[in-house]
C-alpha cells in the first residue's frame, strides 16, 4: 500500500515537473498553446461556427473576404471560415486515436523482441526493414483503395504502418536499458520476467516512446492531410484542411483566400506538435545536444 501510494505520488510529481519544465521553455509554451488551442477548437467548433459547413450558396461562389464571410466562400459558395474552424476535427480524431495505438503496438513488439533477442529478433528486424523500404503512401493507398476511406479504415491503417518504425525505436531503447546494472540486479535477485519488464524496463523506455509518439503524431497528421489532399482521405462534404487546399488550388490565381485559412490552420497545428515534441525531449533529458554548463 505504502509503496503504491508512493509510486503514484512520485509519478504525479514527475508529470508536474516535466510539464513545468515544458512550459518554461519558449518552444514548449508556444507548442502546447497551439496544440491545446486546436484540440479545444475541434471540440467546440460545431457549436460556434457562424455558418453551416455544407450550406452551398451559388451567389457567394468564390467571393472574397468581407465582414460576414471573414475568409470568403469556396467554389461551391460555402463559408471558408466555418469550414476552416471545423477542418481539423476528422484529422485530430483519426491521428489522435491512431498515434497511441501505433506507439502501443509498436512499443510492445519492439520491447518484446528486444528482450527475446537472438534469431527471432533478427528475422523480425528484416521484416521491419522490408516494410520500411516500401513507400508509406503506397502501403496505405492499397489498403484504402480496397477497404474504403472511412475512419474505421484510416485509424487501423495509420496505426499499423506508423507502429512499424516504433518497433525499431522501442527495441533500441530496450537494448540500452537491459544492458544496465539495475536490470542485472533485478535478474540476480530472481524477479520474474514480467516484473523486470514492468518495473525496471518500462519506466525507462516510456520517455523515449513518449517523445517518439509526439513525433509520430505530427508525421501522421502530415500523412493524413496528404491523403486528403490526394483525394484518398476524408470524403466530401466533410470539411478537411487537406481537401480544402486541394479544392481551392484550382482557383488560386483569382481566389487565393481559399487556401490561406486551411494552410495556416494545418501548419500551425503541425508546428505546434513539433515544438511540443522538441521541448518534451529536452524536458525529459533525451536531447543529447542540450547540456547544462556544468
Amino acid at each position: 500500500m505504502a509503496a503504491t501510494t508512493a509510486t503514484s505520488m512520485v509519478s504525479g510529481n514527475r508529470v508536474v515537473t516535466v510539464l513545468k519544465d515544458l512550459a518554461s521553455r519558449p518552444s514548449g509554451a508556444i507548442g502546447l498553446t497551439l496544440v491545446i488551442f486546436h484540440v479545444a477548437l475541434a471540440l467546440v467548433s460545431p457549436y460556434i461556427v457562424p455558418f453551416d459547413y455544407k450550406l452551398q450558396n451559388s451567389s457567394l461562389m468564390l467571393t472574397g473576404p468581407d465582414a460576414v464571410h471573414w475568409l470568403g466562400a469556396d467554389h461551391l459558395g460555402r463559408d471558408v471560415f466555418s469550414r476552416t474552424l471545423m477542418g481539423g476535427r476528422e484529422a485530430l480524431l483519426v491521428t489522435g486515436v491512431a498515434t497511441p495505438l501505433a506507439v502501443i503496438w509498436g512499443g510492445f513488439i519492439g520491447i518484446l523482441f528486444g528482450l527475446v533477442g537472438g534469431r527471432l529478433d533478427e528475422v523480425l528486424m528484416r521484416v521491419v526493414d522490408a516494410f520500411l523500404s516500401l513507400p508509406w503512401i503506397l502501403k496505405m493507398l492499397v489498403l484504402i483503395v480496397t477497404f474504403g476511406t472511412g475512419v474505421e479504415v484510416l485509424i487501423p491503417t495509420l496505426a499499423f504502418f506508423y507502429g512499424i518504425p516504433v518497433i525499431r525505436i522501442a527495441r533500441a531503447a530496450t537494448h540500452d536499458v537491459i544492458a544496465r546494472d539495475f536490470v542485472w540486479a533485478a535478474k540476480a535477485r530472481g524477479h520474474s520476467r514480467i516484473s523486470i519488464i514492468w518495473r525496471e524496463l518500462l519506466p525507462n523506455v516510456l520517455d523515449t516512446l513518449m517523445v517518439e509518439g509526439a513525433m509520430r503524431w505530427s508525421w501522421m497528421l502530415l500523412a493524413f492531410s496528404s491523403l486528403s489532399f490526394l483525394g484518398f482521405g476524408v470524403s466530401p462534404p466533410t470539411p478537411d484542411w487537406g481537401l480544402m487546399i486541394s479544392d481551392a488550388r484550382g482557383f488560386m490565381s483569382f481566389a487565393p483566400w481559399g487556401v490561406i485559412g486551411p494552410v495556416i490552420a494545418l501548419s500551425s497545428l503541425i508546428i505546434g506538435i513539433n515544438l511540443t515534441a522538441d521541448a518534451l525531449a529536452k524536458a525529459l533529458g533525451i536531447d543529447r545536444a542540450q547540456k547544462a554548463p556544468m
Binding site: M1, A2, A3, A6, T7, M9, V10, R119, R180, D181, F182, W184, A185, A186, K187, A188, R189, G190, H191, R199, E200, P203, N204, A292, P293, M294
Partner: protein, 671 residues
C-alpha cells in the same frame, strides 16, 4: 605589485549563471603560483574546482563559465588579455596540457602520427619532412614500443596506457616550459599508472619544467609533487610542501582526506570523512568545511576563515590549525572480527574447477570461417569460502574477477565446473532456475550505483523490491523494515521518497548496500563497490560494510583492483591474472614474501600518499587481451620467468602453510 611567478594565478573567481539567473561561483578567490622546475599537486574531491583551475591557467573556460575576478599570468603574460592567435601559440607550445582521459581526448579519425605531427607543425621550427623522424623520437621518449608502427595507428587501437603516453608525447612536441596534468592516470591499471608517473617525474626533472598536477589521488601526488595545494568547495584550504601536507596536514579537511585513504602499511580500516561538500552556489556563512569538521566551534560558523601562513610554513584556511591532533588517525572499528577459527570452519561457498567463456558464436561467422575456440576467460578456479570471512579478489582489468562474481550470481553460466552453497548440491547455472531461497542467500552489489539503481524508482521502491520478493512484506511492515534498513546504512526515513538523482554518490551506494542487505543474505558479492566513489566516501562505505558484516555474520566476496582497499577489508585474498588464480591465502601471508611474481609486481606498483616511498617497477605494463593457450598465465610479463616450462606447463600449486597457495614454477624459497 611584485613580479609575477612563472605560473601566477591571483585572486581568481570563476562562475556561471544558473537557470534561475543567479551567479554561481565555482572558484572563489584562488591564488596559486608555480615556479620553473617546481611541481605542484592540486588535490580535492570531485566538484572542488581543481580541473577548472588547471584549465583556467591555459586561459580556457568550459562553456558557460566566465572569470568574475582576478588575473592569470604565465611567464609574465596576461592570459586573460591575449588575442586568439597569441594564446594559440602558448597553448600546446610553452604551456601544454595532458588530459584526463586520453582515449577520448585523441581525435578518433586522425592517426597517431598525424596528431603528434600537428603539434610539431604548430609549435616547432621543424620542416615538414623532419616531422616523421621527430614523431618517432617523441614516441620513443615516452617509452612506447615500436613507435614506427604506431604512427599509422588510430587512437582506438591503443591501450589506455599507450593513449596516455601519446598524449604526453604530444605535449612534449612543443618543448613546453610548463605542463598541466589533469588526472592523467585516473582509470589506468596500477602498474600502468606507476609507469606513467615515473616517466613524468623523469621528464620534469630532465627539462626543468613547471608542473601542475591535478588529482584526487594523493598517492600519485606524493610521487611527483614538491608542493601540494588542497582545495575544498572552490577554495584553497591548505598549501605547503608535499612532506608537510602529506605527513602532518594542518587543515581538518586534509587530515580527514589522508586518514580516509587505505594504506598497505595499515591493518585497520581507514577513517571515514562524513558528510558532503556544499554544492556550488550554496549559501555558506562561515567555514565551508565546518559541518563536516570534528573540531569546529561557533567561531567557524560565524565568519569564513582567511588563508593565513602558520609557523611550519604552510598556508591554512582554518581558525584552529593547532587542534588537528585531536582528530582520530585510525578507525575506531579497527579491530575487524576474524571468522571463528575454532574447529573446522563451515564452507559458505565452494567453487569447483570453475571455467567461464564469454565467446558468442556468430551464426554467419561460424558458417564462413572455422576458428578455434579462444582460451576461456576464466579457468580452473578452485576456491572454498569460509562462513563469515571476506575473500578479496584482486587483479588488473581483464583478470576475470567481475566475471567470477557474475557467475556466482547466476548471470553468466560457467563453461565447466560448479558453484555450491554450504554443503548443498551445486547451484544451477542460470539464475532463472535457482530456487528462491538460494537467490535470497546470494546478493550482488555493483560498482556504479548510478547504473545499478533504477533512476525512475524512489528509495522506497528500490528497497521494497527484495522485501516483497523474498519476505512478501507490504503495507506498514514494508515501510517499517525499509526505515530500519535505511537506519542501518545511516540514512534517515526522509530518504524514502527520494529518487537516485537526488542523492550523492555515497548515498546511492549506501542504498545499494541496504538493498542487498534487505534480503538478509548469507553471501554478499561486492564488485568494485568503492571505485566510483571519492576516497572520503570510499572509507565510509568500507566501514559500513565491515559493520554490517559483524552484525549479520555475512560472508563477503570483495572484488577490487586496489590492493590497499582489499587489504583493509579482507581476511583472505586471491590474486588473479587473466582469469587464472596466481596466489591465494590469508591477508598477512599474501602481503608478505614469498610472493607470486605477479603479486610482487602489483604490490610494487602501489602508490602510497607518502613522498618517501617509491614504487618498485619490475614488469612492463603491456596490456594483454587474452590469456596464453597454455602454461602460466603471467608468462609474457613475468620478470622472474625461468624458461620454457612457464610456457608449456601449468604452474604447480605450492602449499606455503596456513592455506597460503602460490601457483608458480619457481621454488617457494626463491620467491
Amino acid at each position: 605589485m611584485t613580479t609575477p611567478s612563472f605560473i601566477d594565478v591571483r585572486n581568481l573567481s570563476i562562475g556561471y549563471t544558473s537557470r534561475a539567473g543567479e551567479t554561481v561561483k565555482v572558484l572563489r578567490d584562488v591564488s596559486l603560483t608555480i615556479n620553473r622546475g617546481e611541481s605542484v599537486g592540486l588535490v580535492g574531491e570531485s566538484g572542488s574546482g581543481k580541473s577548472t583551475l588547471a584549465l583556467a591557467a591555459l586561459g580556457y573556460f568550459k562553456r558557460g563559465l566566465r572569470v568574475l575576478d582576478g588575473q592569470i599570468h604565465f611567464d609574465g603574460i596576461d592570459m586573460l588579455d591575449l588575442g586568439r592567435d597569441d594564446i594559440q601559440k602558448i597553448r600546446g607550445g610553452r604551456l601544454a596540457l595532458i588530459p584526463q582521459n586520453s582515449g577520448q581526448s585523441l581525435t578518433p579519425t586522425l592517426r597517431i602520427g598525424q596528431q603528434v605531427a600537428e603539434a610539431l607543425r604548430l609549435h616547432s621550427e621543424l620542416e615538414a619532412d623532419e616531422f616523421d623522424h621527430r614523431v618517432v623520437e617523441l614516441l620513443t621518449q615516452v617509452r612506447l614500443p615500436d613507435p614506427a608502427a604506431l604512427i599509422s595507428r588510430y587512437p582506438h587501437e591503443l591501450s589506455g596506457g599507450q593513449q596516455q603516453r601519446v598524449a604526453i608525447a604530444m605535449a612534449l612536441a612543443g618543448q613546453p616550459d610548463a605542463l598541466l596534468l589533469d588526472e592523467p592516470t585516473t582509470g589506468l591499471d596500477v602498474t600502468t599508472q606507476a609507469h606513467i608517473l615515473e616517466l613524468l617525474r623523469d621528464l620534469a626533472s630532465d627539462r626543468n619544467m613547471a608542473m601542475l598536477y591535478v588529482s584526487h589521488d594523493l598517492g600519485a601526488i606524493a610521487r611527483v609533487c614538491d608542493r601540494v595545494v588542497v582545495m575544498y568547495a572552490g577554495e584553497i584550504v591548505l598549501q605547503g610542501s608535499a612532506r608537510q601536507v602529506l605527513k602532518s596536514p594542518r587543515h581538518p579537511y586534509a587530515h580527514g582526506l589522508l586518514a580516509s585513504i587505505p594504506r598497505l602499511s595499515q591493518q585497520s580500516l581507514p577513517v571515514a570523512l562524513d558528510g558532503r561538500p556544499p554544492m556550488p552556489g550554496e549559501m555558506i556563512n562561515g567555514c565551508a568545511f565546518a559541518d563536516r569538521c570534528g573540531i569546529a566551534d561557533s567561531t567557524c560558523t560565524a565568519s569564513p576563515p582567511p588563508l593565513v601562513p602558520i609557523d611550519t610554513g604552510e598556508h591554512v584556511r582554518c581558525f584552529h590549525p593547532g587542534k588537528i591532533s585531536q582528530l582520530p588517525r585510525a578507525s575506531k572499528t579497527a579491530a575487524r572480527k576474524k571468522p571463528s577459527a575454532s574447529g573446522k570452519p563451515d564452507a559458505a561457498l565452494v567453487m569447483d574447477d570453475l571455467s567461464i567463456t564469454y565467446a558468442k558464436p556468430d551464426f554467419l561467422a561460424s558458417l564462413l570461417t572455422s576458428r578455434k575456440d579462444p582460451p576461456a576467460t576464466v579457468e580452473g578456479i578452485n576456491i572454498t569460502i569460509v562462513k563469515g570471512e571476506t575473500l578479496g579478489l584482486v587483479g588488473e582489468s581483464g583478470s576475470g574477477k567481475s566475471t567470477i562474481l557474475k557467475s556466482i550470481a547466476g548471470l553468466i553460466s560457467p563453461k565447466t565446473g560448479s558453484i555450491a552453497l554450504e554443503g548443498q548440491s551445486p547451484l544451477t547455472a542460470k539464475v532463472e532456475d535457482r530456487p528462491a531461497v538460494n537467490l535470497r542467500q546470494i546478493q550482488l552489489i555493483f560498482q556504479n550505483p548510478d547504473d545499478s539503481l533504477n533512476p525512475r524508482h524512489t528509495v522506497a521502491q528500490i528497497l521494497a523490491q527484495p522485501l516483497r520478493l523474498y519476505f512478501r512484506l507490504s503495507g506498514d511492515d514494508l515501510r517499517q523494515r525499509s526505515i530500519e534498513l535505511l537506519e542501518k546504512v545511516r540514512l534517515g526515513s526522509h530518504y524514502l521518497e527520494r529518487l537516485p538523482s537526488q542523492l550523492s554518490g555515497g548515498e546511492k551506494q549506501r542504498i545499494a548496500v541496504a538493498r542487498a542487505f534487505a534480503a538478509e543474505p548469507e553471501i554478499v558479492l561486492c564488485d568494485e563497490v568503492t571505485s566510483a566513489l571519492d576516497v572520503s566516501v570510499q572509507a565510509a562505505v568500507l566501514n559500513l560494510l565491515n559493520e554490517l558484516k559483524t552484525q549479520q555474520q555475512t560472508t563477503y566476496i570483495f572484488v577490487s583492483h586496489d590492493l590497499a582497499v582489499v587489504k583493509a577489508i579482507s581476511d583472505r585474498i586471491a590474486v588473479l591474472y587473466q582469469g587464472r588464480l596466481c596466489e591465494i591465502g590469508p591477508v598477512d601471508a599474501v602481503y608478505k614474501p614469498p610472493f607470486h611474481p605477479y603479486t610482487d609486481v602489483l604490490l610494487g606498483a602501489v602508490l602510497e600518499p607518502d613522498p618517501e616511498k617509491a614504487p618498485k617497477l619490475s614488469a612492463d605494463d603491456v596490456v594483454e587481451l587474452s590469456p596464453p593457450a597454455q602454461g602460466c598465465p603471467f608468462q609474457r610479463r613475468c620478470p622472474k620467468k625461468i624458461g620454457t616450462i612457464c610456457e608449456t606447463d601449468t604452474p604447480p600449486a605450492q602449499q606455503m602453510g596456513g592455506g597460503h597457495v602460490i601457483n608458480c614454477h619457481i621454488p617457494a624459497d626463491d620467491l
